[in-house]
Symmetry: C2
Subunit: 193 residues, 2 copies
Amino acid sequence: MFDILFKHLQKKVELTARDREHIPAFFEPKKIRRRQFLLNEGDYCRKLNFVSKGIIKSYALDEKGQEHISLLAWEGWWASDFSSFICEEKAKLSIEAIEDSELLLISKINYEKLLIEVPIMERYFRILYQNSLVTKDRRLLSSNAYNAEEKYIEFIEMYPSIAQRVPQTLIASYLGLTPETISRIKKNINRED
Amino acid sequence: MFDILFKHLQKKVELTARDREHIPAFFEPKKIRRRQFLLNEGDYCRKLNFVSKGIIKSYALDEKGQEHISLLAWEGWWASDFSSFICEEKAKLSIEAIEDSELLLISKINYEKLLIEVPIMERYFRILYQNSLVTKDRRLLSSNAYNAEEKYIEFIEMYPSIAQRVPQTLIASYLGLTPETISRIKKNINRED
DNA sequence: CGTCTCGTTGAGAGTTTTCAATGTAAGTGG
DNA sequence: CCACTTACATTGAAAACTCTCAACGAGACG
């Protein structure tokens, strides 16, 4: 279970054998099944969740009860309500498993402790956040500048494997579109080939 | 000039007198005038830019030549093409001063050096990025879930002072709307009062 | 077999954009 | 100081895009 985590960490920083010994103690493994919740809107998000297996979605509901996906996370990704975790406010997001999944959770206390006791992790998270910012910027640009078809194509090209693993309703929600629109776009694209 | 920087740093971390002595040497002050460019699309973004005075916009152009603002940065904010800076790719963004501005620039080499020689800065940037992620998440949600009026109102409430400092064309571009739409929304809002 | 989830399709409605015209304030050079 | 240009905001009408609502079909699962 920690293999995936170490593999992921080592893409960004170098871990010593000592680091690898220390790190696991800070985490708590957890398995959840499809449709189970990791976080409910209104609760406090007290853990950072690393996905070692499966897929997770985190989303907000609007006043019409519509779901807006803020993040799809699979093997090697983190999924949390960051805003709630950091600012210690009630979560505006819910987090739910799309497939049966395996996770490694770290509490806020352990997170802070980890950053101090294993300093390379401070660097790891700085780099992780740095990269996430780049990704989010790209997503924001495409959200503001692209039309539905362009958004869809960008998504498919960026995450081809995910596009096959999750129902298109979720992709629609991720892109801020309706499933019907996605369906029509696909028809369009096929006709053009 | 470093006062603003220190003030900003100290919102997130505690600096020792030694830190304050060391930090300035890593930065290069720069003044630019309204409409001058800090970065041109296609160049490499080799510096992180801290705004100590003025306002800066960073934006991408689409194939129709339309401007899409990815960031408005004023006193206490950083403005760069992060993707270019981190990944050492050609910049997709241009960065331009909206008002005469004063900046503190740090090169990539100095950035890396600063993170190692003044370890508290590693923590500072981790926290900075962490907070930026929260902001971007919120912006992404509103971009995907809100209609034009809701986006505009959220912006005005979030950045009331900026809304007065920059022309509404820029706000429109920031929100992924047209200036005409903003104009009509304002009319609507006034009528409703 | 019945139920549930997911995808497709059509028609009409709603929102936002586009294009074009006009007004206004500010900035510049003679 | 005035004339001229430029930047910005407003308004209208038509077009484009995406959503909503409703119906139907296909596949998975118990």
